[in-house]
Symmetry: C2
Amino acid sequence: MATIRDVAKEAGVSVATVSRVMNGSGYAHEDTKKVVMAAVEKLNYKPNEVARSLYKRKSKLVGLILPDITNPFFPEMARGVEDCLQQFGYRLIFGNSDEKRDKEIEYIDTFLQNNVVGMIASTSEEANENFDNLDIPVVLLDRTAEKLPAVYSDQKTGGKLAARVLLDRGSKNIVLIRGPVEIKPVYERYMAAYEELKQAKVNVQVMDSSLTLQGGQTCVKQLFEQYPETDGIIACNDIVAAAALQEILKRGIRIPEDIQLIGYDDIAFTALLHPPLSTIRQPAYEMGAQAAEMLIKRINQEEVEVTHEKLPVSFVERQTTRRKAEKT
Amino acid sequence: MATIRDVAKEAGVSVATVSRVMNGSGYAHEDTKKVVMAAVEKLNYKPNEVARSLYKRKSKLVGLILPDITNPFFPEMARGVEDCLQQFGYRLIFGNSDEKRDKEIEYIDTFLQNNVVGMIASTSEEANENFDNLDIPVVLLDRTAEKLPAVYSDQKTGGKLAARVLLDRGSKNIVLIRGPVEIKPVYERYMAAYEELKQAKVNVQVMDSSLTLQGGQTCVKQLFEQYPETDGIIACNDIVAAAALQEILKRGIRIPEDIQLIGYDDIAFTALLHPPLSTIRQPAYEMGAQAAEMLIKRINQEEVEVTHEKLPVSFVERQTTRRKAEKT
DNA sequence: AAGCTATGTGTAAACGGTTACACAAAATTA
DNA sequence: TAATTTTGTGTAACCGTTTACACATAGCTT
């Protein structure tokens, strides 16, 4: 790799001049510019970002922490982040945290050691303190904290909406599958749904499940044994809903006639399920993109107040819920 | 952030001593070590990786290029890479290429500018030349090239296997959905399946589709119009297979009785489809992990010959293909 | 006791950029 | 034409590490 000194020698100027030409900073004679650019071209010179980063004390790198890229909700978000950042010349250092505090901290540390210019993270509640005394901007994604800017979706409305959908379409014996209570957004939608259900005069049961397929399957099997009269299920996410759907089909229960089912997230494959799954849509890609945008604004010091961007969710009506007209 | 100079001052020693203690290189008196470590502790000193990287001309960063993290096949792979690399203290810079040559080149360049210690990439064929004169190790993932080490799966056997499954289970009018021919592994499995089908005395039709849901839907709709007598479909990947499945169900065709369907990849949600999709499994996570392992070996100069690791694929028998006994 | 080797530590030069500062030449002003 | 401002360029310090080298001292050998 050619260095700035090689270019300077080739062009017969000093390194300062090369640097100025490259960055368009300070003065440089037109003729000199040409000579320098020719040398740059000839040697295929690309400035070393590491050296630049060392002097400036900030790189073109942004740290991204997500719980698990393997969960289909997150790739969309990651892509939103990447697409936006990429346009501004930023690159992503990425890590999966598995919602584990120590992994989060480990990543935060190494990001810092690499002079990242900012961070985007969906991290567990307690880890937020690790972001406290940083002198680089941080944006929370799909999570919130009072002192930190954040982009997330309206979990309360989402949970409430899911409950209302089942209620309005006539379910009377509803099981609410609650995800891990430590995961704030998941807990919030559960809570909102629960409260909405409680206000209606219907039978409500709560069951616990992890957010994974396995967890969903275990939970759902138990569900039908414990509450065979169930005629409505609100799942904590689409994966668990898919597990429920499978179990429903296996038991020969008619859907949506005998039982209604609603998921959460609207990940890509829900439309491919049979019957296609009704769900609450979170705009994952947009969330990622907006978080990136917010971060960039903060990097450029254009926005300093802590802003919380709450994106709307929506009910995606497919075929595991009845048409509103045809209540039973 | 505390620097090595701060630590040196605090401990009353020189920066060289601090460096030696931190890295366990050269001599250092026991007492000195203690004093230094105490200072490190007190100031919460973490060495700046950027400075280190500048001097050593290599960082702890590995570049990863994947076509599109939003395609469910890749997150598994990415996770495999990350889990392995993470254990050895390496971090990932990540970029989506969308199979576009210029995006690939852009990422390769910025990775290099950031002194990455190695790269893992699933890149389009023509871009490989960009890896040619690099002085850092590169491992291809899910792709191959003669001069470059690679980890991929046995596409030929996979394609052949898919064809054999349908043949052995009695399909006579088979449509083979071919993905984009520019994508080498996708083309290879197509070709292998095609040859296997050609050898059998069955009716074979070939249709084109992109690898996306939309592409699949369009293709499949046309498929049944053009070839209504079809009793077997081999899809280029699971997503397209899912689209096919949906269309089959919509048309009231019985599966697997009237038509058999097989996908490719075995991404997570195929098991959740109704009926669960028979498919050819590629060990995505293992591929990622092995690529990472191979890269690390090369970084440590433990392995120098160009090795090609071809991982086996397998038929995952679910319910869109008949039991082998019950041929029609 | 003299001459080794092994141990322990500091100084300063890298690594590859950016930029403050100095200075000279050209252009503008009075 | 002299004074001033603008333009153009180079020198060297700096960013935070690592390490070659020099040097001092302690512990061994004979």
